[in-house]
Amino acid sequence: MGCKTTGMPIEQNHRIENDEENPKVEKTQYQKLVEKLIYLSHTRLDITYVVSVVSKFMHDPREKHLHAVNRIIQYLKSSPGKGLLFKKGEKLSMKVYTNVNYAGSIVDRRSTTSYCMFLDDNLVTWWSKKQNVVARSSAEAEFRTMAQGVCELLWMKIILDDLKIKYEAPTGLACGNKSAINIANNPVQHDRTKHVEID
């Protein structure tokens, strides 16, 4: 395909939203293309977030959204043949790295959870999804993300226990927010964290 390549799958601080004024594009074709990208994100985690952005407009794609899809394709073209490499490591350990895009959505100001989990040194699962409530502070958003990451860890632990495979304890959880780590270490009821318990 004769398009230019690009080093980034999406513009920084993009403002992609529902746009009634933009001209419409063919719906089924857009859906087919995004569907393929979703499938591709099973082995390409670098496009997970951008694919989640463009797939929000499956019901009513506009020209602007199509441009975003084209940009992903340009990005993929710059790095074809990338995939996941599973290596043999020394010890079997589990680690989760979490991060959050606080109030990242310009439409409803919800935050986006993201984490990736490593088994040994191999990346096995990842996740990038908009949270379903509006967080009132970045610590709260981070804390939710950590909870999500712990869920994933526990699920993997169930599978490994089922297989009776021995792994290195303790498992690791990494997070970039000091106050969220404090909340996790010392879960005392707190004025500002009370509402987190509810969901």
């Binding site: 395909m1 004769g2 398009c3 001209p23 594009v25 063919e26 074709q29 293309l33 393929k36 499938y39 591709l40 099973h42 082995t43 390409r44 020209e63 199509l66 084209n70 394709i73 993929l76 073209k77 074809p80 043949g81 990338k82 995939g83 996941l84 490499l85 599973f86 290596k87 043999k88 490591g89 079997l92 088994l119 040994d120 191999n122 096995v124 699962t125 699920w155 993997m156 169930i158 599978i159 089922d162 297989l163 009776k164 495979i165």
Partner: protein, 253 residues
């Protein structure tokens, strides 16, 4: 087409009966596809009889419609474990998978076109086994398969139901991962893996695809026996159809 009919008859999929007054019969049709080999040459022509499942009604003709698909996460965990421990992976494929499931509900189907001379009167086929296209097919197949696995001593994982595990006293382990009709067999017990394949082959018609190379359109490459490389299919980016489409909407505005 004859091959498909033979497979269906061998399987005792249906019996011809008089149609009961109060029952509706599901229609059916033939689907023809051309199968290509991985290098693009013609492999074979394939005919498949499917029932028109969309005419079935929930609660009357079918109850459960669960389809057993693997979580991609589980697949990756197993693959990374296989890389870690250096397990060999085998891929097998079940032929006509859905036809193995047995049917609990009473389902009548119209007699397929081009089948025998008995195509007269109020005769219909009473289905004993499921056909492709019926709503309950995937569920019935998975149930049958689970029974088969349990009967040879395997246990379903609680973390993900598509994973079957068997442990031995000597700490050896065999795993089977199923994605509808595609399976990966792995583990550190060579003898058991061989046994399992033979036992499954005795019960279902299987195709042994050898070492895992291509699973769910994801390519698996090996290097030095221990590390694995997974690659998704990006060929759609470079296909002609996409080029013409991406260019067109911008022109026609």
């Amino acid at each position: 087409m004859n091959e498909e009919i033979r497979a269906l008859e061998k399987n005792e999929t249906w019996e011809i009966v008089e149609k009961p007054k109060d029952k509706k019969a599901v229609g059916c049709r033939w689907i023809y596809t051309v199968k290509y080999q991985s290098d693009g040459t013609l492999d074979r022509y394939k005919a498949r009889l499917v029932a028109k499942g969309y005419t079935q009604t929930y609660g009357i003709d079918y109850e459960e419609t669960l389809a057993p698909v693997a979580k991609m996460n589980t697949v990756r965990i197993i693959l990374s474990l296989a890389a870690h421990f250096g397990w060999e992976m085998h891929q097998v494929d079940v032929k006509n998978a859905f036809l193995h499931g047995s049917l609990e509900e009473e389902v009548y189907m119209k007699i397929p076109l081009g089948y025998g001379a008995i195509n007269e009167g109020d005769k219909v086929c009473r289905l004993k086994k499921v056909l492709y296209g019926l709503k309950q097919s995937p569920c019935a197949w998975f149930e049958k398969f689970t029974q088969a696995m349990v009967s040879v001593g395997y246990r379903q994982s609680q973390g993900d139901h598509i994973l079957f595990i068997k442990h031995f006293h000597n700490d050896k382990l065999t795993l089977l991962l199923v994605y509808v009709d595609d399976m990966i067999i792995t583990g550190d017990d060579e003898i058991e893996k061989q046994n399992l394949r033979e036992r499954l082959a005795a019960q279902f018609e299987m195709k042994d695809l050898g070492k895992l190379k291509y699973f769910l359109r994801i390519e698996v490459a090996y290097s030095r026996q221990v590390s694995l490389f997974l690659k998704g299919n990006t060929s759609f980016i470079f296909s002609k159809r996409l080029v013409s489409w991406v260019v067109r909407p911008l022109e026609c505005q």
